[in-house]
Structures are given as structure tokens and as C-alpha cells.
């Protein structure tokens, strides 16, 4: 494949512009699809991994009840209720030496509407907790401050809010920080906004910014009543490696404290194992998308072969002329093969360009992340497609006897 055959192939392509463009389109779509679909797959994987990492990979979530939140009872084993005493026991360093923090969470009523200056909204999540929630759940504030131990101890009527919640009250284009130090009516109670949480985005299930966080004591005072129970406990292990150990310890501790309870009476979720499960399912998703795209690339390749076969048939006379004036078999092979390779390579490069452009848009809520391997793979495959599907038509073209080719009409 020398410069001369490239020049000749380019001339051939230019002489048949429409056909060349259509051939390239097939490869373009295949390559573009591979890049975009793989990017969507890895984009959603990255988003999910990020949201799980935001929870902290060395944290465990202990929730009451069997399957699903709350005690459902029924035929399955009755769920237990986690009490303040359980929280105290979990915090006991002598029993659970690897635990570094225990954060109780009391869910407020999700039907509590908030209102401010005439606007009203219902927070997606409404929780009461303690000051340590912020570092453990990786929930810093961008303005104001988080809850302090004093807020909990003094039952201060304050709250920290997420940006979506703030925007729902202020308007979508408003700066959420404007809600700072304002009095917001939440249910029956008026509370002072003392902090705005840093935005976390969606975790794929819900908007993590549509949240209000109150002192645990205040939630009990005004919304749930002082039942002495908590909805969830977040337990942070000293290290990520210790989480599995801590998970077992918590399970046995809670079982011993609640007589008659079984392993299904409560749930201890390990974020690390969730993360790996999530990663696995995302990989499956990416592979699935990738194979759909690979099939389209294959179809594009067969398109190239089809067009090359048609080209050879249509240009049989031309091949005859070329042979009559002295073209060798190898000249013809390299011309047609070069045409096929150039068509698919150009189509591939255009497909990469389309893939890059397409990946700038958010697709079904996912910000695509371009994977280098998919670009390399797509270009490699498009080249291989050109070579593989170009060889047969090219050799068919070259084997014709000059007189047979010339007589062809």
C-alpha cells in the first residue's frame, strides 16, 4: 500500500462521492455508537460509584426491620426497633473497638411541608441527627455551619438544608445561600436555617440535595415524639478493612440485646459490598451496551463489504481498462483494498468525532465518560473491518481476465 495506490484510491473515492459517503456513514454510526454507548455505561458507573463513595466506604448502615424500612412484620420474622440504648451499646469501645463513630438518625415525617415567603415544598428527606453526621456522611456545608453538639444538647430550633430544597423555596435560579439565617416554617414549627449543604447531585434513586437536617432532639420534640427509638444508625469503622468484622460484631451485639431476633430482624448494610455489587452490575451494563454497539459496527463492516462488492461489479470495465494498459493483479488489489481501508478509517475517525461530540451531552440523565480503550478499539475494529471486508472484493476484482472485464457492460 504505497503512496501511489493511496492517491489512486482517493481518486476512486472522489469519483464516486455518494457511494463513498454512504459507506463511511455505516462505519461512522458503528464507531460513534461504540464510543457513546461505552461512555454512557462508564458514565453511569462513575456516577453510581461516586454517590456510594460519598456515603463513605468504611461506613455501615444499621436499619430496623426486615426487608424494607420499618417493622413490616407479617410472615417473616418480626423486625426489631433500634433504641437509644442500642446506640449507646454500639458506641461502647470495649465491645466494638473498631468503631470510630456512631451516628443515630431519626427520620422526621416526610409529609411535613416547608414554607417560606409564600413558597412551599416537601423535603425529599427529613432527618434528625448529631454533629458527627457531617464528616461521616461526607456532607460539608458551603455556607453557614453544620449542627453542633450544643444545638443538639440545647434543642436549638435550627436546620441545615440542601441546595435543591433551598431552590424549591427561593426559585430555581436563585442562589440557595440566600436562605441562610432565614426562618423557614417546617410543618408546625419555625426553624432558622444555619447552613447550606454542599451539592451532591443525584445518586440515581433520589436527589440527595432535597434534604433538611435538624438536631435529633428537635425532631423528637416536634415531629416524632420522644419514643426513645431511632430509624437508622450509621456506624463508621476505623478502617475500610475492618468493616466486615464490625458488621459481624454489630449483628451479634444486636441479636444478643433483642431476644428472639434473627439475622433478618434488622439490616446491617456494608457500603463496600454495595459498592462492589454496584460496580459488577455496571460492568454488565457497559458490556451489554458495548455488544449492541459492536453489532452495529459489524453491520457497518458488512456494509463496507457490500458496497465494495457493488463497486467491483460496477467498475469491472474500469478494472479491464486498467489491466489492458498494464495494471498488475497487485495494483488492482492494492487500489481496492486501499479504498476499503480508507473508507472505513475515515468513517471511523468521523465516528470518533461524533462520539466525542455526542458525549458532551447528558444522555438519559447520565454524563458520559469517554473511555480511551473504546476509542482505540473502535478505530482498530474499523480498520480491521476495512481490511477484512475489503480483501474479498479486491481479490475478486483483480482475478478477472482483462478481456472478460473489458467486455463487461
Amino acid at each position: 500500500m504505497n503512496l501511489e495506490s493511496i492517491r489512486m484510491a482517493v481518486r476512486g473515492m472522489l469519483a464516486n462521492r455518494m457511494r463513498s459517503a454512504l459507506t463511511m456513514l455505516g462505519v461512522l454510526i458503528g464507531v460513534g455508537a461504540v464510543i457513546i454507548l461505552v461512555a454512557v455505561g462508564s458514565g453511569s458507573a462513575a456516577a453510581a460509584a461516586k454517590s456510594l463513595e460519598a456515603l463513605g466506604s468504611n461506613t455501615l448502615t444499621v436499619s430496623a426491620g426486615g426487608f424494607g424500612a420499618g417493622a413490616r412484620g407479617g410472615t417473616q420474622s418480626r423486625g426489631i426497633t433500634i433504641t437509644d440504648n442500642d446506640v449507646t451499646a454500639l458506641s461502647d469501645k470495649t465491645q466494638l473497638p473498631d468503631v470510630s463513630a456512631v451516628i443515630p438518625i431519626v427520620n422526621g415525617s416526610t409529609s411535613s411541608a416547608a414554607s417560606f415567603n409564600g413558597a412551599s415544598t416537601t423535603p425529599g428527606s427529613f432527618i434528625g441527627t448529631i454533629a458527627a453526621y457531617s464528616p461521616v456522611r461526607n456532607a460539608p456545608v458551603t455556607a453557614g455551619r453544620f449542627l453542633t453538639d450544643d444545638d443538639i444538647a440545647n434543642h436549638n430550633e435550627v436546620m441545615v438544608v440542601g441546595t435543591t430544597f433551598a431552590k424549591n423555596l427561593l426559585g430555581a435560579t436563585a442562589n440557595p445561600n440566600a436562605l441562610l439565617n432565614e426562618q423557614v416554617q417546617l410543618g408546625s414549627q419555625s426553624l432558622t436555617v444555619i447552613g447550606i449543604l454542599k451539592s451532591k447531585g443525584s445518586n440515581g434513586f433520589q436527589d440527595q440535595d432535597d434534604i433538611v437536617i435538624l438536631p435529633e432532639s428537635v425532631v423528637r420534640d416536634f415531629y416524632t415524639g420522644n419514643t426513645g427509638t431511632v430509624s437508622q444508625v450509621i456506624v463508621q469503622a476505623e478502617t475500610a478493612a475492618a468493616t466486615t468484622n464490625v458488621q459481624a460484631e454489630i449483628t451479634s451485639l444486636l441479636q444478643s440485646r433483642h431476644t428472639g431476633s434473627t439475622a433478618t430482624s434488622f439490616r446491617v448494610l456494608n457500603q463496600a459490598s454495595l459498592l462492589s455489587t454496584q460496580a459488577d452490575s455496571n460492568r454488565t451494563f457497559t458490556v451489554l451496551l458495548g455488544s449492541v454497539a459492536a453489532i452495529s459496527l459489524l453491520v457497518g463492516g458488512i456494509g463496507v463489504m457490500n458496497i465494495m462488492l457493488v463497486t467491483v461489479t460496477e467498475r469491472t470495465r474500469e478494472i479491464g481498462i486498467r489491466k489492458a494498459i498494464g495494471a498488475r493483479t497487485s495494483n488492482i488489489v492494492s487500489q481496492f483494498l486501499t479504498e476499503a481501508v480508507l473508507l472505513s478509517l475515515l468513517g471511523g475517525l468521523l465516528g470518533v468525532a461524533c462520539g466525542f461530540i455526542g458525549s458532551h451531552f447528558t444522555i438519559v440523565g447520565v454524563k458520559p465518560v469517554i473511555e480511551t480503550y473504546s476509542v482505540v478499539l473502535a478505530i482498530g475494529v474499523s480498520l480491521a473491518v476495512g481490511l477484512f471486508f475489503g480483501i474479498y472484493p479486491a481479490s475478486r476484482a483483480a482475478k478477472l481476465r482483462p478481456i472478460d472485464a473489458l467486455r463487461h457492460e
Binding site: 489512486m8 481498462i321 489492458a324 494498459i325 498494464g326 498488475r328 495494483n331 481476465r401 478481456i403 473489458l406
Partner: protein, 282 residues
């Protein structure tokens, strides 16, 4: 305004593109012994099909054509004259018999060697011009030189010289469909002579042309012949045949007459003086 080609004295040995000593040497070796015919056909037969549907397109033909001759091969459609042209031009191989072209036995050559022979020794001119579509006149004329491995700059110069020679110097960038039939045939002639071949092989070259273009093409053939190039024209038109030095008639795959109208070394019969052919064809 005809610009002479770079070398016209002896196209067989002066061909600057000759890179195949095996093909060139036998001619040189035989030269002192006897003046060799550039085309030597010995008992050539061509049979199409097998069994009951066998068609004998050529029946035991023997024909010598000497260098510098201008031969018209005539015959009705189906007389075998086109088959003969294909055999002479190495586009097809004979079923039986021996064919030597400029001293080389063509029957023993591989496909690629035959391609080289077509490229270096033969210039083809077809009834339907057979230019590559959607490709400029210049690129069409350059093409044989591409396959001969001639460098770009030289190729372009030689192609332009050949196009000027046939009076198309101003139309080198025209596509075939932007040219008249006569002009297309002249592009085809430029393509045939650009490699400086020993033999010009024309199959019904004027079959698709009007009388003016026919006259132009024939006068180019006469000029080429006066440069001692061998010209073989396949035709069924008597107006074409009168320009040839020798007329061979075919019927049913056999030669029925072989008439010499002028000497090999002399002028073509329709040319009264050497000046006659030197005229503007642009």
C-alpha cells in the same frame, strides 16, 4: 502543432521504461540474423466453448507483421478479427499455436508479465474509447506510466506532451464526459502512445466517430506510422482500410486475402508527401 515524442527512432529498444531484460533481450539477440517480425503468429487457434457448442473463432492462423507496417485487419462481425486483436494485445490467450511479440513468446508468460508487455509494448485504442470515467484526461493518460513506475513529475510531463501531440493540450483537466467523441478518442490515443510502445493496436477506432473525427484519428495513425511505429487497425470500414499499407481480410476465422497497398519503408498510401501529415489537428 505536433510535438514529437522524446524518442521516435526505434520504439522497441528506445523505450526508456524497459526494466525487464528478459523481455527485451531476445529481440536484440535475433536482430542481426534476420529482421524479426514484431508480431509473429504461428498456427493460432481460438476455440470458445466445448463439445457441440464449440466455436472456432480463429482457425490455424499464421501471420507476421513487421515493424513499421500499417496493417488493416478487415472482416465482418464474427469473422474472428476481434479475437485476433485480443490475442495480439495479450488480453486473451490462444487455445493453440505460438505467438511471439517482439521476439518474446507470450504463451509462456505469467499474468503479471503479460501485464508488463501490455504496458510497455502495446498501446490500445478501443471503439468505445475506454477512458476511466470521472477522471481527467491528464490522469487517464498518466495511468499507464503509473503502472510502469514512472515518477510523478516525469509522468506529468510525458502525459502533457502526449496530449499536446494529439492536439488536446488545452483540455488536460477535462473529464471524459466533457469531451466530444473525437476528443475522447484522441485522449485514448495519447494514453496509447504515452509509454512509447512499439505497436499501436486499434479496435474499430473510428466506429463511434463522425467523418471529421475519423479523418483526424486516421491522420494521427499515419503520423505515428511515419515514425516507424507498427499500427494495427481492426476495422470493417473500407475508408479506414485505404489508409493502411497492408490489408488482411478475415472470414469465419480464416485469412481470405492479404493485400499490400504500400511498402513498409515507404509512406502510407493516402499520404502524398511527409508534409501531408504534419498539419494542425487542434
Amino acid at each position: 502543432m505536433s510535438a514529437p515524442l522524446s524518442s521516435v527512432a526505434d520504439p522497441t529498444t528506445a523505450n526508456p521504461t524497459t526494466a525487464n531484460p528478459a523481455a527485451a533481450n531476445p529481440a536484440a539477440a535475433e536482430a542481426p540474423r534476420r529482421r524479426p517480425a514484431v508480431i509473429e503468429l504461428r498456427r493460432i487457434s481460438k476455440i470458445y466453448g466445448v463439445g457441440d457448442i464449440e466455436v472456432h473463432a480463429l482457425k490455424d492462423i499464421s501471420l507476421d507483421i513487421e515493424r513499421g507496417d500499417f496493417v488493416a485487419i478487415m472482416g465482418a462481425s464474427g469473422s474472428g478479427k476481434s479475437t485476433l486483436m485480443n490475442v495480439i494485445g495479450c488480453l486473451d490467450v490462444a487455445t493453440k499455436g505460438r505467438y511471439r511479440l517482439a521476439g518474446t513468446d507470450v504463451g509462456n508468460l505469467t499474468d503479471d508479465e503479460q501485464a508488463t508487455i501490455r504496458n510497455r509494448r502495446i498501446g490500445f485504442i478501443f471503439q468505445s474509447f475506454n477512458l476511466i470515467p470521472r477522471t481527467t484526461a491528464l490522469v487517464n493518460v498518466e495511468l499507464p506510466l503509473v503502472y510502469a513506475g514512472v515518477k510523478r513529475g516525469e509522468r506529468r510531463d510525458r502525459a502533457i506532451a502526449a496530449l499536446e501531440r494529439v492536439g488536446l493540450g488545452a483540455r488536460i483537466d477535462h473529464m471524459p464526459n466533457q469531451l466530444s467523441g473525437g476528443q475522447q478518442q484522441r485522449v485514448a490515443i495519447a494514453r496509447a502512445i504515452v509509454t512509447n510502445p512499439a505497436i499501436i493496436l486499434a479496435d474499430e477506432p473510428t466506429g463511434a466517430l463522425d467523418s471529421t473525427s475519423t479523418a483526424e484519428v486516421l491522420s494521427i495513425f499515419e503520423e505515428l506510422n511515419m515514425e516507424r511505429r507498427t499500427v494495427v487497425v481492426i476495422t470493417h470500414e473500407d475508408e479506414v482500410a485505404v489508409h493502411a499499407k497492408r490489408v488482411v481480410r478475415f472470414r469465419d476465422g480464416e485469412i481470405v486475402s492479404d493485400v499490400r497497398q504500400a511498402t513498409i519503408r515507404g509512406l502510407p498510401p493516402n499520404v502524398s508527401s511527409p508534409a501531408h501529415a504534419v498539419r494542425s489537428i487542434a
